[in-house]
Amino acid sequence: MYRTALRMLIGDKTKLLGLIFGVAFSTLLICQQVSIFAGLLGRASSVINDVRSADIWVMDPSVRTIDASYPMRDTELSRVRGVEGVAWAVPLFKSQVQVRTREGRLENAVMLGVDDASLIGVPNEFLLGRVEDLALPDAIAINPAGFRLLFPGAELDVGRELELNDRRARIVAILDAAPAFAANLTIYTRYSLATAYTNPGRNVLSFIIAKSADGYESNAVAENISARTGLKAVSSSAFRIESIMYIIENTGIPVSFGTVVILGAIIGVAIVGLTFNQFIMENLKQYAALKAIGVKNIRLLSMTLCQAGFVCVIGYGLGLGAVVIFFRSTSDVDALRGFYLLPEVAGGVAVLAILIVLLSTLLSMRRVLTVDPATVFRG
């Protein structure tokens, strides 16, 4: 009977295409949007991820996200270093700067200044140059996406000069930092240089990153630091979640993405539902005839579910394929870096696609289940 059900569906090419398109479209739209949303949230914590060697972040008590810091007094660093369980603690400066090239291109950048002596906090993903090069005068390292932003069309290289607040900076290394939320251009440099570039007031210590000593648990050490210094100290993973939640709670981003997702689901239900309804309406007399012949409701229902399953699998497959193609073909677009199809998203959307199809078929199916077989005899 399932073969018969599929033949019924495949026999009606126009509606089959409509149904598959509906599911594929919803899948594509929702998968793509949720993936980009997840990627954006990832960017919100990319700096935290890139500083792999530290497991504790210390900051002013008012700070709620990596993207907005409030300076602490420089003396806090030695206080944190004195807390029990802290193996080491180094300063991290973070700020937004404007960068200008010789050619006059102006871009926004996220600048990170790391401890002059240890250079801890620089991601160890050098494409060109070495971490030691950052010890050179006016040395900065930037990410490849930022390089392409500043020098469109140029091959990655080192030695070029930039202007940061009227001061000279020289690119000595290209390193593969994940794109940050606030800007595509990320600059790493020494703490002393970073403070000189941004030229702020006296207090410039944005974050202190620390490592818990062997045998100490990072959450416990973070609590220790808070208790001893009155600063806010959290583990890296907690800070990552906090930074993500900040975006979810304090920006319009989730709402706008959520709207697209809901619209995608509604359009899916509308296309699939209306097409399926039409399919069933056109066959209603035949369904009544089948019932008269002695085919039971449960049989008709499973036939319809079989048709729905077929539509769902093919439509979802095509939609997912389109998403994969989208992210593949945009993988070298810097603005979309770090955005890719997460398996969790694919799985979630699969469930959603099933719900969309199930909802639309069950709504139309009511007509079949209630049609009186006696109507077949009536003209």
């Binding site: 009977m1 073969r3 018969t4 033949r7 019924m8 569906l9 495949i10 026999g11 009606d12 056109e282 066959n283 007399k285 035949q286 009544a288 005839a289 089948l290 019932k291 008269a292 012949i293 002695g294 085919v295 039971k296 049989r299 077989p373 006696a374 077949v376 005899f377 009536r378 003209g379």
Partner: protein, 239 residues
Amino acid sequence: MCRGIEKSFGEGQARVRVLRGTDFDARAGEMTFLVGPSGCGKTTMISIIGAILSCDDGDIRVLGQDLRRLRNGRLADFRLDNFGFIFQQFNLLPALNAAENAAIPLVARGLSTRKAESIAREMLDKLGLDDQTQKIPAQLSGGQQQRVAIARALVHNPKIVICDEPTASLDAASGQRVMELLSEVAMDAERAVIVVTHDDRIFRFADRIAHMDDGAISRVERRKSDSLESSDSPEEPSS
């Protein structure tokens, strides 16, 4: 065999008493016609016999089974096992070809599609559609579609075949051809065929004609004068 069947539609003021204590019999090996003016209750009657509609009152025994004692699911099984239906509008599934359409009752009974379709093709063969089995209904003429419907009604070898106006959607010639085939292929000593019709040009195919008027059978007339006529033998009544 039906005795004193009562059936009304609607409620209160709008209530219409369609069947008024109707008695009706059909016998195996015979083609019984049910004729009468429009609206007299013929379709209602065969719907009740065909276990598609329940009656309000009266006795209805089909193949020894009291239909009033069967519940919904069992009724569907009973129809699937014992009845073949032929409708005025054919009601073939538009996306399926002739063989697939004719095979439906067998597939619904759990036979594999391949086996069912091969049996269906044999049946279509007998109905002169051997070269049309792969065509979908839209590619067939009305007469051919009705022959596919006949194949569907007979493919599972039912004990009773019920036809409502089988020729009403056909021109005279196709109608004659369909009735000829029906009487050739469907007639079997074990099988009762009931035909509801307005079409007096096909009356000659009937073994017996039950005339119905305003919800009751007014008279039963014997046609096709055969030797059995005098002996109202105790052969098993079918419905």
